[in-house]
Symmetry: C3
Subunit: 305 residues, 3 copies
């Protein structure tokens, strides 16, 4: 098992933004068997720089869970023996102490279960919430659960799932080698990295490539902001959020043609876009020093004429 | 009178979140005689750590004032002779230069009056606004005035009143003894403490005990964010804001099922909650390092089955 | 031409908030010839302190552009030979790579053109977006384009146009002489100055004088927040935003009687005010240390009885 952990040392934690569950196409409630595996992995935060991540499922953000209002989640959370730390999970979609965190705290080698009903729609963060939760989230332990309203969501051509969070390391950004965690910087809310999907510019032409749509398409972007401390100012350069739901609060009235939306740490955002012209859209936190100097950006390329 | 000030040195400034005026049950305008007494008191910010607070009424947040749209406030502000500094009060509910601050600036030993009509509904901060207002607010001088709409507010089972603000001290958090004020840290917006009701974890099981409701109840939470500089990201762990009004703007459309809401310094928030299951809800600023390392949290315990 | 640049050394960059285009009074689309001239100018950021600004048109914020949904903007951008740096412009009102930035990057001595149709209404920032865009924006390169909805905006008595941004200098605020730019402070998001219209307290009684209305008037305030990093918490001291549109998203439902509104870097705000009593309103970022210690404020004086 140590071999597996070592094998991960050179991998990327960046979750594929298109690897998400299908839209709900049901009018009956359902019970979902969901498994979250806590994975402590060392990976590159940018080329030549490694960091000890903690994750759900080895990815940042953790797997997107997709249910319908009234569905039941039958969760299994595993903390494999190869890990070093206790973990748990707090769902903002769950009524109950700690959003489930109290019931799910487990040491390495343990398994726990949590069963809850999704009683209100919206897109919600889930995250590790042990006593040092800010450290665990900054290390990568957050994801999103989408609770679709009973009537579902309007059809779009593409959906993308992204997670912003910030990392506090003990070296200057870009300094080659292994970066440890800087707890004083976290207390001061002065991050070294601000990232989409846990890695510098992961989904851009210079790295794993941009996300792709065709001219004339529509897309829906789900953002979860892990934080632990920093608010995103989420903007699509060269485009606009035609319709958007602050806080992922899908039952609220949408805001129309929004340029830049604050997304709090521990919150979500849903935005719909159109692509009337061929272009490369850059998704950014419009606190632009985070884009220029801290690694924050993803791209959507609209191809065709 | 000095004896009274000294007697307060070991007291807590944390206002009781349930000690608030009754909902309005009237359809006629009224004039309210309101008295605010500026109190400079030394008290514990956490166990073993004292701080020189400035307050309205010896409490943080200051007394909640509750009126109906169209009512008149006939305010008396007193700055007792035992104080050392000038004070005044700026009501965000008041049209007029400084929201009344210009008319109410008084030296120790002075009394002033201000009469104004509450012309628009909502929950609004009031705060000291002398030239060094950021220092006075960080020391505790802020509270909330609720201007109910003419038709009143829907009935709920419980109402709670909380105030978030941040304190800049010249020692590390938790360092035993007396902490002075750090003006450079305030300019840098790097607080030592981020608090609900002026004291570390004041309304939690480890301190004065949690707030209490019964399973099946509804509750309304009023938050005033004093700042002076820091935005709250207000989240009920293990619950959700079923209905909420950003900025305390009660005439705006409510947002539905909001997980985390930014509340700016110098602003308010109104959130309604349900308690379908027994649990302990933790009210936090979801910039979680403020919870883990700076003293920010309150609890609501829903008892029963 | 160097003479012209030197002649500007003692000028102010603070744009006149009343010097804005007339409301749209048309029901047919139109093409606008718009010219933006990039100007690198040295000017006073406060009395006795100079700073090397980069601007559009020599002013902060840059000229307000006003069009109707469906209109075409035929833009010419000039980078005069006397400048030292490349520049471009990103319009948040424009579909296309970089919001036009890719197509408009020009070296000193060059001219470029961009033609685009304003396809969605709202008030939107435009800003320089070269690779070091945070530096260029902090130096002053941002402004606003208002795209009125087809039906226009309700009539008000006065309109004002303001821009907030923050500047990172290598000396303490107020230290006499010339201040250079501090790139480390920008990365740390720790500004020296937070300003309305690029200069300390530019539109207040102590400087160029307050803005003026009469008692009983209505006014509309347009704010563009350049950042590059800092969120405004926009509050009218002694007044309230009777109606307001977060993000400048004019097609969204307005919020009613808002005290303080977060305005993200790279975003806008539209607020309407009433002046039922004579007073001086102070427009501030309610992160009050920015008002007390960093130069942020403008005044509106309502005269008459
Ligand atoms: Cu964890
Ligand atoms: Cu949480
Ligand atoms: Cu005061
Ligand atoms: Cu105020
Ligand atoms: Cu530029
Ligand atoms: Cu931009
Ligand atoms: Na900081
Ligand atoms: Na559109
Ligand atoms: Na700071
Ligand atoms: Na509900
Ligand atoms: Na900082
Ligand atoms: Na009004
Ligand atoms: Zn963990
Ligand atoms: Zn497609
Ligand atoms: Zn843009
Ligand atoms: Zn005072
Ligand atoms: Zn009860
Ligand atoms: Zn939670
Ligand atoms: Zn430029
Ligand atoms: Zn007038
Ligand atoms: Zn005020």
């Amino acid at each position: 098992q140590m071999e597996q952990a070592e094998a991960k040392a050179s991998e990327s934690v960046a979750a594929d933004p298109t690897d998400i569950p299908e839209p709900i196409d049901r009018f009956e409630p359902k019970t979902h068997e969901v498994e979250l595996v806590c994975e402590e992995v060392t990976a590159e935060i940018e080329s030549g720089v490694t960091f000890n991540y903690m994750t759900f499922g080895g990815e940042v953000p953790g797997p997107m869970i997709r249910v319908r209002e009234g569905d039941t989640i039958d969760l299994t959370i595993r903390n494999p023996d190869r890990n070093n730390k206790p973990h748990n999970v707090d769902f903002h979609a769950c009524y109950g102490t700690g959003g489930g965190a109290e019931a799910t705290t487990i040491a390495p080698g343990e398994v726990e279960r949590l069963r809850f009903k999704a009683m209100y729609p919206g897109s919600f963060i889930y995250h590790c919430a042990v006593a040092t939760m800010d450290f665990h989230i900054s290390s990568g332990m957050f994801g999103m659960i989408l609770v679709e309203p009973r009537e579902g969501l309007p059809e779009v051509d593409h959906e993308f799932y992204l997670g912003q969070h910030e990392v506090y390391t003990d070296k200057d950004k870009g300094k080659e080698g292994h970066h440890g965690f800087d707890f004083e910087a976290m207390k001061a809310e002065e991050p070294t990295y601000v990232l989409l999907n846990g890695e510098e510019y992961a989904y851009t032409a210079d790295n794993k490539g941009p996300l792709k749509v065709e001219t004339g398409d529509t897309a829906r972007v789900f953002l979860v902001t892990g934080g632990p401390n920093v608010t995103s100012n989420f903007h699509p350069i060269g485009n606009v959020w035609s319709k958007s739901w602050a806080e992922g609060a899908i039952e609220s009235e949408p805001e129309i043609n929004v340029q830049t939306k604050p997304v709090a740490p521990g919150s979500c955002f849903i935005g719909e876009m159109e692509f009337p012209v061929p272009e490369t859209v850059k998704l950014v936190d419009h606190a632009l020093s985070r884009v220029v100097h801290k690694g924050m950006m993803a791209e959507i390329k609209a191809e065709g004429e």
